[in-house]
């Protein structure tokens, strides 16, 4: 029996002997500490429906100018998400990305900028600028030269089979073919060659400010937030330890104390073709207010009983949040959730 199966079986045994959900000391919003795609929007609590994604410096300048009205006041709803390297002439190549850390970080850096109406002050506007980048990612397929060669060969094959009668590439067919074969190659590289749990480190930060009366010359710093996610392999292919955290600093108003807060979690996931499971602990702490410190934990196991049919069960205060929406059945006094895809594996 493999180590993954043993671990999953141990988890299952814990459930089967009658575990019950442990009472939480408070609720931890796990979404708070997951690194966002656009830190500025997350910091503001905004979900913009229209996001400008300029790919040239001139387009960025125009997008920023759109956020300022003719009287020099900031407009709400500005949302810009930009890949900075597109704005500069410095070259980005696959060879550099694979071999130079500086190029890797440069190519993975994202900048976001957003504005929204200030809470409790309808005349003012909150502004945030966010930055996100990867410092390491062994599970990035673009960093593996051998995989790149296989991808090249697969795409070249698509070229030969995706032609119009006039010998011109059939763009839609070629793109679909390349998407499929490259997806398959990368999936095999991750799963069968064991790269899914390689070391990865992603960091992000956001700085927030309030524009009093929405005037861009009346900018007052409000604080900021930082995020970090570290993924570490457990064994060559056995599992992954995922540690995530977020720290916040909120500047106090009119001489009041600043508030600091931290939330985070650690999750150990083990995965195999037919069985996987996890153990997770999350917590939060803040320097002021009630319920200043909270912790929760959960564990679960999932079994594939047939093609496209997974049974999962678990316990702990956060387990329900992970499995809500699934069909559930009771077997041997244990609640089992059924899904067509694995849900619990950490990846």
């Amino acid at each position: 029996m493999s180590r993954a199966t043993c671990t999953a079986a141990a988890l299952l045994l814990l459930v089967a002997i009658g575990s019950r959900a442990l009472s939480a000391q408070g609720e931890v919003d796990a979404k708070r500490y997951v690194i966002p795609d656009a830190p500025a929007f997350t910091y503001l609590g905004a979900a913009p429906t229209s996001i400008a994604r300029p790919s040239a410096a001139r387009d960025l300048a125009l997008a920023v100018a759109e956020g300022i009205d003719s009287t020099g006041r900031a407009r709400r709803g500005l949302a810009i998400d930009v890949v900075p390297w597109l704005l500069f002439p410095k070259r980005v190549t696959n060879a550099g990305y694979r071999t130079r850390l500086g190029d890797f970080v440069y190519a993975n850096t994202q900048l976001s900028l957003g504005t929204t109406r200030s809470t409790g002050d309808s005349a003012s506007t909150d502004l945030a600028i966010g930055l996100k980048t990867n410092l390491a990612n062994g599970a990035d397929p673009l960093r593996d030269a051998a995989l790149g060669d296989r991808i090249d060969a697969a795409v070249a094959e698509c070229r030969t089979t995706s032609r119009t009668p006039e010998g011109r590439p059939d763009g839609a067919r070629l793109e679909d073919c390349a998407d499929r074969v490259v997806g398959d190659s990368v999936a095999r590289w991750l799963d069968e060659e064991g790269h899914w749990n390689d070391v990865a480190l992603t960091v992000a930060g956001a700085f927030g400010a309030r524009l009093t009366e929405s005037r861009i010359d009346q900018l007052v710093g409000r604080g900021g937030a930082v995020w970090a996610t570290l993924a570490l392999p457990v064994g060559a292919r056995f599992g992954q330890l995922l540690v995530q955290g977020r720290g916040d600093l909120l500047r106090g108003r009119r001489g009041a104390d600043d508030t600091t807060a931290f939330s985070g979690g650690a999750r150990l996931g083990v995965g195999a073709t037919n069985v996987n499971g996890f153990v997770e602990m999350v917590g939060s702490w803040r320097s002021a207010g009630v319920d200043r410190s909270t912790q929760q934990w959960s564990a679960g196991v999932e079994l594939r009983v047939a093609e496209a049919l997974w049974l999962s069960t678990g316990f702990g205060s956060r387990y329900d949040a992970l499995t809500s929406g699934n069909r559930a059945v009771l077997l041997a006094n244990v609640r089992w959730n059924t899904t067509s895809v694995p849900r619990l594996v950490a990846r």
Partner: protein, 120 residues
């Protein structure tokens, strides 16, 4: 389709510069007036064969009405950006404006882009 006004009696140099961490498969084709089929005049796997991702090709004199097709398959990861430029030159002089294009693989593992040019 983009029109490029060149001297049809002189050879042309075409420089394509591609910036992206993605793998890139490049094929350039042309179709002379009266031809039914497209002919490939340059093809490479850029990441492997052209590590600096800068492709230079020289074409003999091209008659007016010739169509050129620059095609690119970017692949290897989702949500990854790319940009490219194609510049025509004759002798030491650049002809016309650089043709630029930028994009992302978005939610796919590959993206296809093409630039079609007509010699006028």
């Amino acid at each position: 389709m983009i029109d490029v006004d060149i001297d049809e009696g002189a050879p042309s140099r075409i420089d394509a510069v591609i910036d992206t961490p993605l793998r890139v498969n490049v094929e350039f084709l042309l179709r002379r007036p009266g031809d039914e089929r497209w002919t490939t005049f340059y093809a490479s796997r850029v990441g492997e064969e052209v590590p600096n991702q800068a492709v230079r090709t020289i074409l003999d004199a091209l008659p007016v009405g010739t169509q050129l097709l620059f095609t690119f398959v970017f692949s290897g990861a989702r949500k990854t950006a790319f940009r490219l430029s194609v510049v025509f030159a004759q002798g030491d002089a650049v002809v016309g404006e650089p043709i630029t294009l930028a994009g992302s693989t978005d939610d796919k593992m590959a993206a296809y882009r093409e630039v079609e040019v007509r010699i006028v």
